[in-house]
Structure formats: structure tokens, C-alpha cells
Point group: D2
Chain length 467, copies 4
């Protein structure tokens, strides 16, 4: 795994008067817990003394926020924060960092979101034809214009949000801050996760429950698809719903398989448990003998453990990942890229030598990293390497909030399982069939978006999209 | 002098095909030459391969732009740049740095300006009522909205600019960049300087001619009040005029006295010559005897030399300024402020001891720096210190592009000359009368804004302004 | 685990003429692989065009070395590098960063070492009485003086090293660079690991084999206790031996248990395999029933897996570690220290709820982190938490290259197992007895330093040491 | 102008108990006042709670010291500081920054110096033959070894300094700090300036009196050639003298002409007055007619004013220097070097057009900058440009503390005045004869080093020196 990236993570906290908390420090810790959802830029906006202020920049959370920086935000009543991946070079534009703080006819607001609008370009053009100007290229300004435009005719910002949602088609989890309250909204299909919790009397919104737990808080519930949740200055939580009813839920299967953190519970489903279950299912259909099960760190480990437990084949730590990898420039500079995997991962010869290894990962995207890992294991003495993938063949580009290669660049696009197996150099290859993967969240009322496996997109794509 | 600050400096260059120049490097050098017009933030936007890109930040030009940074802008066809002072803490907001790059219905543009709109707040509100959103607090976004709105109904951007100028009341010198041409516009009263020149076949716009000379270029002429000058991709220069005719020109007298660089020629007037002439006029009305004329570095030196030459009293280097002063944090941190003048300026005892010193400066604003200099000279042994100021008593806050203290904070506000003299501790004090100051640009068809001396503002001020 | 830290890691590479490698880039990658051995400062010295040059500073390897920085070292013939922990505030002194480049009577040399001299203070004083001056406070200068002094009477540097080793008492692995060759030396007891390998025709020395593998190189062998290995400019390897014969080997048991990277082989012993074996041994003596085995990431996982496999109790991912933890300032700033564990580790409720958890870690030092983890698991719903430690009670301060708290600060110092169990809040606690731990490297001719468990130090400690 | 650079500036302050000062802040301000003596690196060492600590780095004083950094030095009892130029690329080595803090047999000391030892290399070798190791390449370590070696046999550090001075041949002004007292020493010839003063009850040593005045202190006297001055912890000043009696004083003439700040008094001579006098003398021998005298900023201005006053020809501000020049990377990057003068200096056309200009500078070294200035004036319309230099032809490399080009690179080396005149493109050229220059300090018991004009070096040069 490696070429698939989540676009963003969002967070918000509102602290009622008398509560001894520092929302900016909480936002720092929560964003740090959500760092896996985006490493290119981050930001925190606070409501401090009736003003909205933002600090943001390119880099990891600890790079952008120093203790003196956070101290300038001490005494804030509320904060929202964001981590993101840059889609491409163009979007590295600082004007694309979030949260966005905007001043408008009825005051000020700060906004951040996770997702992609499939009609973002059209909405942007509509705003432009009314005289709108855009400093960046992502949808945060588009959504801001929409909400602000609607707010000209509504009394409350939440009503404006509900109106605006009628125009927004796509995947989005939004958190909005006014000086004294927060609004969280999730798209009608519920593509991306969003949940609400409490820390003391403070209200917390976050992409994943792990961010709430990082603050020592309590998870309350997921924000429902199409729901708009308001936290007022007293810490009261109110729920509204947009007028759009989606034909069906469409929670991103890859949140379960790869994106979300293992200790999160998203839409009622424990991410760690789901991954282990996927590994078990994979083991049930397994046909080869093996001496050792190895998971690709970090995302393949849970499935590998499920596989090991189900199959009775022992699990071994056959691959070690450098825990400082987040920072080395080798990643970004493409320097000696072909050699760089060894900097990141190393095989443990003592563990794999002369073994028939069953290698488990969550997915195969381009197949290049996978091929190098297989080779690494062989060089370390593995006798056989059998690849097992805890999801179906990944064949189609995502248009709902994930950064994927174009479909043609994917290993499984236009290749049979046999061909992929040869491409990665494994002795055998098995994927987990889609219908089985969908059972990992058994017992939950969950319907998934599986477009990356099937090409059946839940919403119509904009013209000009690749597929 | 010291508490008076210019708000901004602007620059633009367009290089026709086949010309061997690097607009971004030129912008760097030109902004460096304009650094005296603003030290808080700066930025350069370029047109590169059909896209507009900007780099900007808080700090001096050499702090924000490194050689590698500039190299990323190599191959640009055009560039505009900006240096500015932050008016106050709030405006330190990064969203207020310029140039501003905006995408709109007809494409993209970059904009920077120098000045203040007196109706800026009203125009902002009008934009907001139409659904506009603002990320910063200065007028750059206001002007952008106006121009973009007009551009929805005009064929060319220059026509949009001309339309927009009908709504803009105040002082402004604007430079706009599209991917293949530049537009420069100056307010109908001509408050702030703006000129046009050539370097090779490239067209250059700048706040002051010294920026053109820094590139080895040739000054062509000033942009006239109300004029809109277009430089097209072939380097042709076209001139239009807005439909507003101002009752009179109103060039800022303080540009001559203090802001502009001594080697600049603004609106036909050599800054250095004007300052020296002011010193001569001051000498003609002088009534005391002195042994030595001393100028306060850097801005009082030219007038002091004029004074010395006219009066026959020798000029002496009695004050030495630390030439690294631009950088020390003492300025910004107010640390031991009362002691800090010595870090900046020192008196030369050998020169002033037992002398009757005539001390010349361009102006007295708060009077505190002046008082400390007088004291410094006395401590160094001066027998008498006679203060001579090459401008009239400064009494009223500027609303047209300069950052001044509130009127009440000014030494001459509500004080007689005698009282100011006592306040600064001098043996005598004389100002240059306004009618005399206005003759320094004799022979030129120039009419000045003298509101800071007289309180007679050229344009109506917004409600709620201090005076 | 958490309060125990290795002091340093060392690396060296020499590339013969005609070999297409960049020693500085190799050093960067190797130090990155050794980053777990020291995170406070790092440095690389190169031999470039007959001169020794060094770049070093405080921070992680990717913080100190940028690509442009490394490019300045392109074309180097050899490089040595170092990562280290600062022992305390005083030693944060930049003069203590390594490698040290010194000029002496016979030329220049660069030196880095890992370890502690127990007679370092006495040797320093002896140098001072001969007129030596010291800029820092660690032993690198002491060792340099010793070697340089001996070199005044020896023909070769290696002979000087052999002579100097007669005076050095303690734990040390040293790498020395002259412009055209490298020398590696290991103390006669072999406290700290040091090995030699090849990448192509280049010779590589490193603290751990994982650094050699990070370069795609081949591990040749460990440097023997008391051995001095020379790599000449042609890449030939020569071996000498110091004249001291230690009474016995004394390899640090904690290298196996905690410090070394799991994929390293140190003194013939696979670190990963040793840890798993320790877990198995721990399971054999286990007396309680459990539903789930959980390892504390990262260092407790291998032992936990061994425990699970041996006991048949399933392994579960019950604790998730934030993989960006290397950077957050919370660690260094002690800000809300009591809350900070959650930022680093989180328990997975879905996994541990209602379970009897067997929690495995490599050691208990102060006991505070351990107590918080037990609490975390209980809050996440664990029914019982049984602590199992894959090493004996840690009771005595290390004086041979590890940074430990003073003995009195250790949980097990002066406390019975029962008392420690109560202190950490677990339902039961078992340690692995020393004689069993020593069998993890069974079959190897290895004798260990076990002073931290027994207080029986292998070498006499300096007067004034705590015990 | 331009290519001649002082090597260093030194400063020290000792504050007796009960005195309300912050030595580190004083050092900051004083070094800032001495910044003209060295811009490549700087550092401050303090005695704080009985320990000596240093902070230093490459860059200007305000770049290396932030307010938080200085605050870490609050409460210091004493401080010494240093600014320096790097002699060449090699010496950019961080190990060459000063002050140097060293630990030795009798304790600790911090040292900084300004100058050059002509026998520095020999002394270094002698130290090396006794086992000394050197981390840097300049003389600070050499002097430290010497003093420390002597201190092994003396009771006090000052006696060690006096002994060491018997071995040191060359130019040096040294400041030494122990935890509770300071020692200042000046070479027996008195090449480089060094003075002592008081601020309150604190004792201050500095290269120039302007640093004492920057603190609001009082200049007491110059440290005499060969003198050793001690400031003890009560602020008492004691004077000793080394045993070497120099044949004659040899104060650097260029300190007067160029290096020292205009407001300093060095060895009893007012720098500003001396420069003006040099200009007057130059005018007395002048034979051409002129309309305008112009000084090259900053160092030529005082002489030009003297010239103007003596000749009766008016002084004009014909050249304007960018006051932010200290920072632009153009200087260091040699980018478009030929164009860069305009970035730094600009001619004022309105002032020089159609004028016969007499251009005054303090010296001509390589002649390149001078040639460009002449050209600049001609391009700005000057009818004639007559060059007048307030010192004799500069022909020989300095070996006593100044960084100069090699003799062959100097304009006047092997060229007649006529040839130099042609080289710089002036209409005429006159230098100030040496015997006249020496009279500028008339009435003072001062003898000068004039080797740069005559090649008669005061001390024997080391073998291998250029001349």
C-alpha cells in the first residue's frame, strides 16, 4: 500500500463558559491524532474574544504549531482544525489551506471540510458569474460562497447550510464555526465519517472517534448522513436534517480497510475489528500452505493477524518499518526512489528465512510497493511468498474524497489476478471478494460505496471525468 | 522623525517575447529599492506559462525571497510586486499581504495597490450584500470585487478598471496583471506617486523612479492622475483615462519631504532637490547664530545641507546612525524603548562639543524622538541646540495612504510653537511655513494635499473618522 | 517503557575509487535507520577532496540534513555519522554534538563513539594537567586527546588507537575517519554493538546491521570485543586487536530487549527472534487465564507475540500508537504531561472490552507509563489486566552507555513484585527471571552485562557514582 | 570602499553584585553597535550561576539573537561578545565562531579576540606537538592553549596571559572571561583598538568607544599597547603590563580612515574629525575646478565634507545608498554582480547633471567599485568626474587583522596614479600623501602601521607570506 491517500480530516470543539479547557490545545492534539488523514498542510481557527483568527501552513501539525503559537490562541471559546493532502502541485497553493476564515454580510465564519464535490467546478462558475472571486482552487471557497449566499436570505447560518446542501453534490463532511457556535454537516450519502462527542461539557466534532479519545472525551454518536448538528455556546447539541434524502448510504469501504485509524469506530463499525475480520474471511478461502503470516505495516497488520488466527498459521514480525519515516525528504524528493523502500521497510531474515510466507496487505494499488516487498522477502530468504489482499481488486479512480492514481495506472485495471500476481512476483495471489468484504460490518445498517472496485459510482460524475 | 510611515510600494514589469530578462528577479531588485515604503510584508506574483502564481509573507524583501524561491519563478513573462506596512496588529493577518491573485469569471488577475479608499468600508459592505466573502481586512479584495463585477459587463479588464474607478474614492495607485498584460491606474487626485519606464523593451511601472533605475532602466513619465496605462504583451503602452475628473491634483507633500527616496523624481519633482530647497528656504528665515548645522539621518540630511549652504554655517556629521538598524528586534519589541535611541543614533562629541548646533529634520510628529536627539546632543557637549524643521507643524491624521498617529498624539496638535520647543527641549524652534514649502516644486504644475498641516482634506472623510 | 534511552548510534562508510556511491547520502540513510538510537542531535563528517568537513546540529536526521546540504558533500570518499541523546540539559551544548573533527600534529581525524567511559573524568583531568582544553563535556574530546597523544609516538593511527584503548575503561564503540581510511574499535567487553559490512566494494561500519541493510548492503560480521578494524582506501579490511583482554564479554542485555531494532542481528543474535523467545519463556511460566494478549507498541509487540503463540491465547491489537509521535512538542515541553499518553497511545475498546487482557512489555522502569497504560485499558473496558514483562525487575542505573533514571526512581528499586503490581494497578505481574532471559541467545557464545538487574557491574565504577 | 574588511570586534562587560543590569542584553546592544566590524558570525558568552555558556552562529547580531534567546541569559554576572568576518570559505567552519568557551585544569574561561598572529601557525604546531587538538582553524584555540599552558604554572589567569603574550607575535585585542572577572589585553604595538569604560558600576571593554556609548556608558580610556586590564567581581579595575616592550606603537591607519565608526574615539583620536581633516588636506592640494563635491556613502562622506568646506565647493548628495543593503542575497550570491552596484547605490541626476563632480572616497582597493561609481555618475549626466582619495595608494596586503585582497589584485599595485585614473575612468585622480595623512591625528602621541601603503611591515612576517 502506499499510493492511496485520504484528502482530509476535520475537527471542531466548542467550550461553554466556565469550562476549564483550551480549545486550541485540544485542536492541536486532535489534529495530531488525525494526522494520518493528511500530511501536507494543516490549520487551526479559533474564536477568541469575539474574533475569528486562523493559523495554518504547509507541513505536519507539530511543524506548523509551536507552543508559543498555540499560546497566542489561549482563552479561545471554540476552535476548528484541518489536516489535508495536496491533490497535486497546483493545490499546494497556500490559498488552499484550511480552515478558511471569511467575513460576509452577516458576520464572520470559519470553515473546513473533508471530501469532494462532483459539481464543484459548476458551482464555482456560478459564483463567478455573480461576481465571486476565488483565491484558491479547492471547494472550500465554493462552499463558503454557497452558504454565504443562502445566508443572505436565512435568519440562521444553519438554515443557510441546509439550503446550500441542496446544491452540493458529492462527498463532504463540513465543520463551520461562528464566534459562539459550531455547525457540523455530512453529505446525504454519508461518504466520509463524521462524529460528535463530549469532553467535559465541551462539544467535539471529528472525522474519527480517535480524535475525541485523544482528548480523553466520550464518543456520542456519528453524525448521520444528511444531518446538520449545531453546538451552541452553552454546549447544547441540536440536530437538523437537510432536505435531500439520498437513495442510499454510501460509506467509503476504504475508510474501514485503510484510511481510518485502527482505534476509531466509524459509523458504528470498529475499524480494527473490521480489518481483523477481513483477514479471517481471507483465511477461510485460503488454499495454500504456509509457515508464517506477515502483515505489511502498518495497515496490513490487523488483517494479517485475523488471517493468522483463523488459519492457525503463526504470525511473525517479518517486516520492520522505520518509525521516523514521516519526516525523511526521500519521500518527497523522489531521490533514488527505487532504493527508498529499504529506508522505510526492512525484512527480518531470522524470521522469514526458508519460510513459506503468507503476506497480507489491505490493498494493491499500483503494485510497485507490493512488488518490492515481495522481492525484499525473497532476498531475506523466504522460500515462497503468497500474497493475500483483504479487499477486492482496486480498479477505478475515486471521485469522492480520496486521492488515487488514474484507473489506468492501477495494477488490477485491465489485468487478471494471474497477471497481477506475476507483476508483483508472488507465488500466488488472492483477493477478498467484495460480497465478503461487505460482511465485515455485519449487523450494522451500513451500505457502502464500492466504486473503486466496481466502477459503479453512487452519484453521477461531472463531464470530463475519466470514467 | 520616525512615527510616520508610508503604507505601501508597488511595482510591475512586462517582458515581451524574445527579451532576455527575468521579471521575477527584476521585481526582487525593484522591491528592494522600494523597501523604504514598507517593511512589514512583501510579495511577488508572476505570470508563468499562462498561470498566475504568488509568493508572499511577513518580513523584508530579502527575508521572504531566497534565490531558490526566485528561481521557481524563472521564465516568467510578467511580474508585479508589493511592499507594505501593517496598519495595526489586526492587519498583520496574512490574508492582507499582497499581491492578491484572484480567479474570476473571465480568468485570473493579480493586483496590488498603494493607498486608502475613504469609502472602502461602504464598498466592502455592498460587495457583501451581493454575496461577497472577504478573507482579509484591507481594500485589495474590495477593489478586486469592484473590478471583477464591472468586468462581467465589459469586454476588457481595462474598461472594468475605468468603470470601477467611478466607485472608488480615495488615494490609490494600482497595478494589475493578467497573464499577458499589465494595467496601472492612479486615482484622479494623484495622491500617491506612480510612474512608467522601460528596461530594454520591457515596460515597468513603479511607485518611484528609483525602482526603475535600480534595474538600469529609463524613466518615461509619471502616470497622470486618473490615468489608466496598459502594457500589452508586445510591450506597447496605451493610455486611457477614467471618467472622473478631480477638482484638483493633490500630490502628497510628505512624499517630497520624507517618504520618497532622495534619488527619485516624483511627478516631475526631484526629491533630493526639493528637500535641499526646503532647507535653503528654512535658512532664509533663520534668525539665530550657529556654529554647526546637523541633519537628522537619514531624512533630515538633505534639508540640513541646503540650510548650511544657504546660511554659510558649516555642515557637520554630528549624528551617526547604525546602518544595520533595519533588523534589530529592539524596534519591534519596545524593550527598553527609552534607551533604544542610542542603539540607533549616536552623537559625535568631537564634532558638537561647545558648539551652537542648528539641528534640521524634515518633521516633528510625536516629538519624542526629537526630544531624545536634542538631549543626546546636549550630553555630547553642544552648547545650544536650535531645532529647524523643513515642513510646517504636523497636526492632522492622514487618511490617504499614510500611517500616522491620531491627531491628539501629535506634538503640534493643540500646542504653540513655543510649547513644542519646550517639549523637545530645544533653545529655539522654527518650522517652514506651508506657502514656502509649496514653492520647492516651483515651476511644476503641481498641487498638493496638505491636510496633515491644515486639516483641509481634499476628499470627504468617512463618517466616524477622527476629524 | 519509555524512560530508558540509548545514548548513541555510529556509522561509517569508505568507498574505494571507481565505485559509484555517495558516502554522505549513504550516511544519511544509515543514520535514519539508526535514528531509534538517538534523537537529540546528529551529524555527518565527510572526507572530501582531502579535507574533513562536518555538519551537525540538534534534531532528527531529516531536520539537520536537507538535500542541498547533502549535495555539498557530494563526491566524498568516506563519511562517518552519529545520532545521540543528550544526557541532560548541560550536554545539549552544541560542543557535544558528534562527529568531532580535530586537527593534530599528524593531520586531521573525525571521530564518533557510542558508550561511556567510567574513567572519563580522570582521563579528562590528566589531559588538562598536560595543557589540554575542552570545549564540551562528553568523552569524545577525551578519547581524541588520548589517541592524538599516543599518535605522537606511533607511526599509524591504528596503533595509536590500540595504545589509547589501554587507558580507556568502559563501554565504547568508536569509528574514526582519516582522509583515506576508517578505523572501528570496540571495547574489550563488547558492551555496545558494532558490525562491519559491504555495499558493493565499499566498507561499512555500523552500530546495527539494519543500517547496512538500509543501504542494500551485506552484513559481514560483528566487530569482536577489543578488536580494531581498519578499512583502507582500496576497501581492504584489516583486523588488529588491542592488548587488553577482558575477563569476559559483557554485551548489553537491553540491546536485545529494547534498544536495537527488531530487524538487526547483534553479536550473532537476531533481535526479533530473541524478543519473541523471551515472550515464549514468559508464557511458559504464566499462571493466569486470559482472553487476549496485547503488546505495548513498539518494543513490547514481539515478546507479546511470542507469548501468544506459546500460550495459545490470541494476540489482539488492543493499543494503537500515533505514528507521527516522533515530532510533537508535547514530549519535550512536559505540557500536560499527565494527559499526554493518550496523544501517543490509545486503547481499542472493540478489542479489549470485557476481556481478561495479558499485557506484555519489555521492561518497567519508573512504572508511570505502565500504570497509565493499565488504566487506559481498564477505561476501554478490559475486565482484568495482567502485566507480563519480558525481562527481570530493572533496579540499577546503567553506567555503560544508557541513559537511565537514578536507581531510586525505578519502580522495582526497593519494591517487591507485589508492590510494583499495586503501583501500576495491574491484577497480576510477572517478570522473566534473569537466567531465563539469558537463554534467548542460546547457542551463541555470548555473555551479558546484567548490571541493571543485579547491580553487579562488570567494571569498577568511578568514585562518587551512585552505586 | 568595498573590498576591505575588518576581521573582528570584541566586547566585554562585568556587573558587580547589586547593580541592576543585564550583561547579555548589553552585549547584544554593544555588538550591534560594533556590527560594522564583522557581519559573518557573532556570539555572546555569559557567566551565569557560576557557569560559562555561549550562544553563537553565522549571521548578523539580530539574526543570531532573539529576545527569547537573550532571556535565557538573564541574570548573568558578566558577558563577552564577538562579531567577525570569515576570512574565506574554510573559515566559515562553525568551530571558528567566537567566543570560545574552554574547560581547563584550573576551571573554565571564555575568550574572544580581534587580530592576527603572524606566528599563529608556528604556535599551533607547537601545541600540536604537545598533544593539542584543534577543532577550528583560527587563532582563538592557539591563544587558549598558550594561556592555559602558562596557567598551569601561574597562580592567576592574568599572569598566564602576561606570560602567553611573550609568545604571541602580531596584532591582537583579547577579552577573557572567568566566572567572576574579565581580562582585556592588547598587543604591544597596539595595532587594533581596545578601550575601557563604565556603565554605572559595571566595567566595559570594547573595540570602539561607540559600543560603550550605545549602552549610555562613559568612556574611561584606551587600553595601552601591551597592557593587561583586569575587572574584578566588585568592578575594580587593575592594570598590569606584559614584559614585551614594542619598538614602537603601530596603530592601524585604516581604523581611522575606514574601519572604525565615525562616532568612535580610538587611541585618543576622533574618527569623524580625522576623516574630515583628511578631506581638508586633500582639498588643499587640489588643482582642478569643480561644481560639486560628492562623498561615496558611507565611509567617504566625512572626508568629502571636509573637502567641501576647505575648498568652498558645495557638497551635494549625489549618491544614495539603499539602507536595507545589509541583507540582500545579491551580495553573497554574486548573482549578476556587474549589475548589483545599482541595487546598492544610485546617482541623483538632478544633483549631478552637467556638473564637474569631485568624488571623494577613503580608499581605492581593487578599483572595480570605484570604476562603476564613476560610470554611474557619468550616466546620470556628470560632465566631469575627478576622483580624490583621502589616503595614499593602497598597495600591500595586510597581515595584522584586516582582510584584503592579495597585493597583485590591488589597483595601485604596480600601477602609476595615471594608470589607476584611466582604470577607474575618472578625469583626474589625486591621493592624500602618507605624511599628510599621518598629521590627521596631530597632537596625539600616535605612531601608525602604514604597511598597506609602504610595504614596511612593523613585525617580521611568517615565511611563505606573499610579501
Amino acid at each position: 500500500m502506499g499510493t492511496l491517500r485520504e484528502e482530509c480530516g476535520v475537527f471542531g470543539i466548542l467550550t461553554p463558559p466556565g469550562e476549564d479547557r483550551e480549545p486550541a490545545f485540544d485542536a492541536y492534539n486532535a489534529l495530531f491524532a488525525l494526522q494520518h488523514r493528511g500530511q501536507d498542510s494543516c490549520g487551526i481557527a479559533v474564536s477568541l474574544d469575539g474574533e475569528l483568527t486562523v493559523h495554518k501552513g504547509k507541513g505536519l501539525v507539530p511543524d506548523i504549531f509551536s507552543l508559543p503559537q498555540l499560546r497566542q490562541f489561549q482563552g479561545a471559546q471554540a476552535a476548528i482544525g484541518h489536516v489535508r493532502h495536496a491533490v497535486n502541485a497546483e493545490s499546494v497553493n497556500p490559498a488552499n489551506t484550511q480552515p478558511l476564515v471569511v467575513h460576509h454580510a452577516s458576520g464572520s465564519m470559519a470553515l473546513c471540510y473533508n471530501g469532494t464535490l462532483v459539481n464543484g467546478r459548476r458551482l464555482r462558475e456560478e459564483s463567478e458569474y455573480r461576481g465571486g472571486i476565488f483565491q484558491g482552487t479547492n471547494d472550500a471557497e465554493v462552499i463558503s460562497y454557497l452558504i454565504v449566499r443562502e445566508h443572505l436570505r436565512t435568519h440562521t447560518l444553519e438554515d443557510a447550510v441546509i439550503n446550500a446542501m441542496e446544491y452540493m453534490i458529492g462527498a463532504y463532511s463540513i465543520i463551520l464555526m461562528q464566534t459562539d457556535h459550531l455547525i457540523a454537516a455530512r453529505d446525504p450519502n454519508g461518504f466520509r465519517p463524521l462524529c460528535v462527542g463530549r469532553v467535559g461539557r465541551s462539544v467535539v466534532f471529528a472525522s474519527e472517534s480517535c480524535a475525541i479519545e485523544a482528548l480523553g472525551g466520550t464518543f456520542l454518536r456519528d453524525v448521520a448522513p444528511g444531518e446538520v448538528v449545531i453546538a451552541d455556546r452553552e454546549g447544547r447539541i441540536t440536530s437538523l436534517h437537510c432536505r435531500i434524502r439520498a437513495a442510499r448510504r454510501a460509506f467509503c469501504l476504504f475508510e474501514l480497510i485503510y484510511f481510518a485509524r485502527q482505534d476509531s469506530v466509524v459509523d458504528g463499525c470498529s475499524v480494527g475489528a473490521a480489518r481483523e475480520m477481513a483477514g479471517r474471511l481471507l483465511a477461510r478461502q485460503n488454499t495454500v500452505e504456509g509457515d508464517l503470516v506477515i502483515g505489511v505495516p502498518d495497515s496490513g497488520v490487523a488483517a494479517a493477524m485475523g488471517f493468522a488466527r483463523q488459519s492457525g498459521i503463526p504470525y511473525g514480525i517479518g517486516l520492520v518499518k522505520n518509525r521516523y519515516i514521516a519526516r525523511t525528504f526521500i519521500q518527497s524528493q523522489r531521490w533514488e526512489r527505487e532504493k527508498s523502500l529499504r529506508i522505510k521497510l526492512n525484512a527480518v531474515s531470522a524470521t522469514v528465512r526458508d519460510k513459506r510466507v503468507i503476506l497480507v496487505d489491505d490493498s494493491i494499488i499500483r503494485g510497485k510497493t507490493c512488488a518490492r516487498i515481495v522481492q525484499l522477502l525473497r532476498e531475506a530468504g523466504a522460500k515462497e511468498v503468497h500474497m493475500r489482499v483483504s479487499s477486492p481488486p482496486f480498479r477505478y479512480q475515486c471521485h469522492f474524497g480520496t486521492i488515487t492514481p488514474r484507473s489506468e495506472a492501477m495494477a488490477a485495471h485491465g489485468r487478471t489476478e494471474e497477471e497481477v500476481c506475476r507483476m508483483i512476483g508472488a507465488d500466488s495471489l488472492q483477493y477478498l471478494p467484495l460480497e465478503q468484504l461487505k460482511t465485515v460490518a455485519a449487523g450494522l445498517d451500513l451500505d457502502f460505496c464500492d466504486a473503486c472496485f466496481t466502477g459503479r459510482y453512487v452519484l453521477p460524475l461531472p463531464e470530463g471525468s475519466a470514467e
